[in-house]
Symmetry: C2
Subunit: 348 residues, 2 copies
DNA sequence: GGAAGTAGGGAATACGTATTACCACGTTCT
DNA sequence: AGAACGTGGTAATACGTATTCCCTACTTCC
C-alpha cells in the first residue's frame, strides 16, 4: 500500500542548498515573514535547482485550512451536466480552490462520498447530483463547512441552494402557449419526487389552471432522448381529439427525442408547439431549432462561489418560505430562447 | 486567509471519549496494528458520537502517500470530453483514488497547473487536454510520479500515452470509401499540429494514396459543429466536377455540422458518403444516423488506470517506434459503427 | 558616541495522524 | 514452577511545513 516514503525533496533540502534555515524557505514561498529580497531570490533559485515546491498537504495541515472543495457529480451523459460541471470547475479554479471530485452512480452512494469528502477537510461540498440526507447535511454544516446544492434542496436550515427559478420557467412556458391560443397542454415531466423537473411542471400547471386549461403530465424516469421519443409514440397513438397541441418538456434531452419521434408525422409548430428546458447546444441545430429556456449558468456559478468563499452575506433575490421549503434558496431567472418550435409568429 | 484553526475534532478527542490512547484510535480505523475487536467497536462508536473521522491530509502526510490523481481537463463543450471525463472519473473512483481536477483554458496554462498538481504530491497526472512540455514531463516522472496522456503524446521516454489507434481508424475509413467506389475524397481535419486528428487524416490519406486516390484536406481550428457547417458551405460552392463524393470528418462534431450544412442540398449517402469519429450520442439521432468510429473508452480507461496503479507491466498491444515518436504508447482499436451516412448498401 | 529601534535570520514548536518500540499481563508448554 | 510466548495496550516519534519567539547586527537619531 505504502509508496515511496521519501523520494521527494523537502524544504530542508532547499534550505541546505541555499545555506539558510528551513524557516526562511517557508517565508520565501509564503511571503509571510520578514525576508531580504536578495536571499529570497537565492532560495527560489535553489528550489528550482532542487526541483522542490511546497507540499500542499503539509501546508494545509499546519495552517488548518485546505483550499479544497468537494464536488459531487455523476455520469455526464445528459450533456447538461457537462455544461454545469465545466463552468463550475472554471469558477472554482478562478477562486483559487481545488475541486476534489466524487462520482456518485446512485443516490445511495452520496452518503458515503460525503463522508469521504469530510475526511479531506475541504472548505465545503458542492452537490450537483444525488440527494443529501438531512443528517449528513447537518454533519457538514455543524463542522463549519459549507454545503451548496445545485438545482436541488440543501435539506438544512443553513444549507444553501442555487437554482434556476423553475416554477417561473414553467409559468412562462404556459403563458406563451396560452398567448398562442393552444388548447390541449401536455408536460413531459421527470421522475416522481424529482425536484427541478417537478417544480417546472408545477409552475406550468398552475399558470394553465389559472387560465382555465387542463394539463396532462407524463412522468419519465430517465429524462433521456429515448424517453422523449417514447412519449412521441404515445402521443401519436392517442385519438386525435385528445392529442395535445402544445408540449412543455422539462428538459431538452426529452424535447429533442420527442421532436425526432414526431418527425414526419406532425408539423411543428403548426400541429404541436414545443418548449424545452436547458438550451443544450443541440437545441439550436438545424433539425431542431428548439424553443427552450437557458439557465443563467454564469450567474448561478458566481453566486455559488460567492457563498463558497464565505461571502454568504448575499442578498437572496427571492426567498419564499412555504412552497419550496428551503430557507437558503437562491433562484436565478431562466431566459426564454425563442426558436422555431414555439413562440414565433408562424412564418410562411 | 486562514480559516478555523481547530473547530474540528481530532483522534485525541476520540481517544479521550473512549478511554484509550490515540494510537488505538488510529489502529481502529486503519486496521494495521493489533487491537481487540471489542475495543475497536467501542472506539468506532465513540468516533461516531464525537463526529470524527480520519483527517486524510494528516494521514497522507505521515504515510507519505496521498491517494490523489491530478486530472488536467478543459471546457467540456464538445461533448466528447464529457464522455471521456465521465468514464475517467468513474475508473479513478473504482480504483479508490481521488481525482483533483485542474481546468486549463489554454495550452499555456498547463505548465502552471502541472506545478500545482505536483504540489499536492499526487500519485500522478492524467492529461486529457493541452500539451505537456518535455521539461515538465521530466519533472513529474523524475519524482517517481506517473504521467498519462490521453489521445496525445506524453513527451517523455517513460511517459505513458493511451490513445485510440487513430491511423488505423483513418485507414479503415478510406478502405470503406474505396470499397464503395468513391472517387473524390475529402478530409475535415483539425488544427495544424494537433495530434489525434492529424493521425486520423494521415492514416486515411496513406491508405487512399496506396489505392491511387488523391485526398483533399481541409483543416479546422475549432473542430466544432460550426466549422463542419462552414465546410459544407465551402463544398457546395465548389464546381461540381471537383465536389467530393466521400468525406471523412476527424470528429463527430464537425460531421454533424457538415450534415446540417448539406441538408436539402445533397443526398446522403447517395451524393456524398460521410464518416465521423467519436460516436457521440447525437450521431445516432434520427436526423443524422452518422456512420462513425467508437473509441473503446472502457478499455482505454482500464489500461490507463492500470498504469496509474503501477501495474505498468502491461503488454503494450502495439508499439511502433518511428512514426508516432512515443515509446510508451498504448493504442486501442476503434470500432466502426455503421449507420446511414456510409457503409450501408444503399437501401431502397 | 551611546541608546533606541529595525531588519534579517535561526531555533523550536505545532498541526493530526500512523507507526515503532516497548511494557504488562495472562496463557501454554516442558 | 519457570520459561517462552502471544495479546492488548501505551508512550514517543516522524511526516513537512508555517509560525512564533528570540537573537544579532546594523541603522538612525539625539
Amino acid at each position: 500500500m505504502a509508496r515511496r516514503k521519501s523520494g521527494t525533496a523537502t524544504s530542508h533540502d532547499v534550505a541546505r542548498a541555499a545555506n539558510v534555515s528551513q524557516a526562511l524557505v517557508s517565508r520565501a514561498f509564503t511571503g509571510n515573514g520578514r525576508i531580504a529580497p536578495k536571499t529570497r531570490e537565492r532560495i527560489l533559485k535553489a528550489a528550482e535547482a532542487v526541483g522542490w515546491q511546497p507540499n500542499a498537504l503539509a501546508r494545509s495541515m499546519v495552517t488548518g485550512d485546505a483550499p479544497l472543495v468537494a464536488v459531487i457529480t455523476t455520469r455526464l451523459n445528459f450533456d447538461w451536466r457537462a455544461q454545469v460541471l465545466s463552468r463550475l470547475l472554471k469558477a472554482i479554479q478562478e477562486w483559487h480552490l481545488k475541486p476534489l471530485l466524487f462520482y456518485a452512480e446512485s443516490d445511495a452512494e452520496v452518503d458515503r462520498l460525503l463522508d469521504e469528502a469530510l475526511g479531506w477537510r475541504a472548505r465545503g461540498v458542492i452537490v450537483t447530483a444525488g440527494v443529501v440526507r438531512e443528517n449528513r447535511a447537518a454533519a457538514i454544516i455543524d463542522k463549519g463547512q459549507f454545503l451548496v446544492a445545485l438545482n436541488r434542496p440543501a435539506n438544512h436550515d443553513k444549507g444553501f441552494s442555487v437554482a434556476t427559478d423553475n416554477p417561473l420557467g414553467g409559468r412562462m412556458a404556459a403563458k406563451l402557449f396560452l398567448e398562442e391560443g393552444r388548447q390541449r397542454l401536455l408536460v413531459l415531466g421527470g421522475p416522481q419526487g424529482s425536484w427541478a423537473p417537478s417544480l417546472r411542471a408545477e409552475g406550468f400547471s398552475q399558470a394553465a389552471h389559472e387560465a382555465g386549461r387542463q394539463v396532462a403530465v407524463w412522468n419519465n424516469d430517465t429524462m433521456s432522448t429515448e424517453a422523449g421519443r417514447a412519449c412521441a409514440g404515445r402521443l401519436l397513438a392517442l385519438p386525435s381529439a385528445q392529442q395535445p397541441d402544445a408540449v412543455f418538456a422539462t428538459n431538452d434531452a426529452m424535447a429533442l427525442g420527442f421532436l425526432d419521434g414526431l418527425r414526419g408525422h406532425r408539423s411543428i409548430p403548426g400541429d404541436i408547439a414545443l418548449i424545452g428546458f436547458d438550451n443544450l447546444p443541440a437545441a439550436e441545430w438545424a433539425p431542431y431549432r428548439l424553443t427552450t429556456f437557458e439557465q443563467p449558468l454564469e450567474e448561478m456559478m458566481r453566486r455559488l462561489v460567492a457563498h463558497v468563499d464565505g461571502h454568504s452575506e448575499e442578498q437572496p433575490l427571492q426567498r419564499n418560505g412555504a412552497r419550496e421549503q428551503c430557507p437558503g434558496l437562491i433562484r436565478c431567472k431562466p431566459k426564454l430562447i425563442t426558436r422555431m418550435t414555439a413562440g414565433k409568429t408562424e412564418c410562411p
